[in-house]
Amino acid sequence: MRELFPAKQVMGYFFSLLLTVIALAVYFVDMSYQVAMTILLVTAFVQAGVQLVVFMHAGESKDKWSIYTTVYYGVFIALVTIFGSLLTLIWGY
């Protein structure tokens, strides 16, 4: 039975719950917008990283390089699309 619950994954799970609780603090604790956004940004990206590495085994095969390139490129495009659009349609006036 024990072998079915490897420490790495159990730790990963508790860590992700912890990150969620920290993120929830922005709702329950009074703080400024900047601090809240910083917390959200950090917890979200760390959380994504935990999923990627601990649960999705992104780095385990020989195609590690291709997989990480794809993910980084995707994140790059995502950030460009989101912030570029915000800059163009909202911020840049």
């Binding site: 917008y33 900047q34 956004m37 915000l86 349609l89 909202i90 911020w91 840049g92 006036y93």
Partner: protein, 301 residues
């Protein structure tokens, strides 16, 4: 031989093009904004011409000199991997050209977006220009008159066109006075221009809006300030008042001639107050606003 043909015909075409430049609408500016864009266009044409000529000459030399027919039968082309210096030149020169053009672009873009050069301290005349299918409505809030499909402006005074649309996105364009700007239904845009010479200028919508798009044009007449004043007074004395019903009739899709009214539609059909459809900032947008401000600050510094 064959390449030469292309070369000569394109150079020939280009010469025709250059000689014709002076008479082309965009390159015949009658105000500071259009003058800036015309200068930028000509500078870029000359710069680009250098590149084109270099490429063409290189191409012709290569094609003529290394043609199989002009070489010995037993000639075996060598294996050439590439040369660091050649590549540095191939990258370096385009970078220099791009930097040069970037500087011009940034400078001129700020220039044409701002108040017209030479009129920075004058009080601008505000005219609302609204597009509807397939007409242009011009409202003079100060003078309290409205015209359709034509607009009179005084020379030597900055004009601020407030652009918006009833319906599809249109693009307000008076090539001899300034470049284009969009007129949209959920936001008001500002276009700055000034006319230095009296005259009649072609204006049109440049952005496709459907069936009547080709005819969605208007005339801009620039008059010396005194004549302009006379015109205003004449309209105020003679034109019919614009009622809401009448305005709604004008908005019906279709074509109209030039029309004139007293009063403006701004009272009963005000221009949009949103920013691309979004309500103007509430509390949470502060940071974005600040970010925007700080970015602008850093640009200015």
């Amino acid at each position: 031989m064959t390449k030469k043909l292309i070369l000569f015909s394109s150079i020939f075409a280009f010469l025709i093009f250059l000689t014709g430049c002076q008479s082309l609408t965009v390159l015949d500016p009658k105000g500071p904004q259009a003058e800036t864009t015309a200068d930028v266009i000509m500078t870029s044409i000359w710069t680009m011409l250098i590149i084109v000529i270099v490429v063409f000459i290189l191409l012709i030399v290569m094609l003529v000199k290394y043609r199989a027919r002009n070489q010995a039968d037993d000639y075996e082309p060598p294996y050439i991997k590439g040369n660091k210096w050649v590549e540095i030149i191939c990258v370096g020169i385009p970078i220099i050209i791009v930097i040069f053009l970037s500087v011009i672009t940034v400078k001129s873009t700020y220039e044409v977006e701002g108040k017209p050069k030479g009129y920075e301290n004058d009080e601008p005349l505000v005219i609302y220009a609204a597009s509807s299918n397939w007409k242009w409505h011009f409202s003079y809030p100060e003078e309290n008159i409205e015209t359709v499909n034509y607009v009179f402006i005084p020379t030597d005074r900055p004009i601020e066109f407030k652009l918006y649309a009833y319906g599809p996105i249109a693009s307000f364009w008076v090539p001899q006075l300034a470049g284009q700007k969009y007129a949209m239904a959920n936001m008001v845009n500002t276009l700055n221009l000034a006319a230095t010479e009296p005259g009649e200028y072609m204006g049109r919508n440049a952005s496709f809006t459907g069936e009547g798009f080709a005819e969605q044009t208007f005339n801009v007449t620039a008059l010396p300030p005194a004549d302009y004043q006379t015109w205003i007074e004449e309209i105020q004395a003679t034109a019919e008042p614009l009622t809401e019903d009448k305005f709604n009739q004008l908005l019906e899709p279709g074509r109209l001639g030039q029309e004139t009214y007293t009063g403006t539609h701004l009272e009963f059909s005000p221009p949009p107050t949103t920013h691309h459809g979004a309500k103007e900032s509430d509390g949470t947008e502060n940071t974005e606003q600040e970010m925007n401000d700080s970015m602008e600050d850093s640009m200015e510094n």
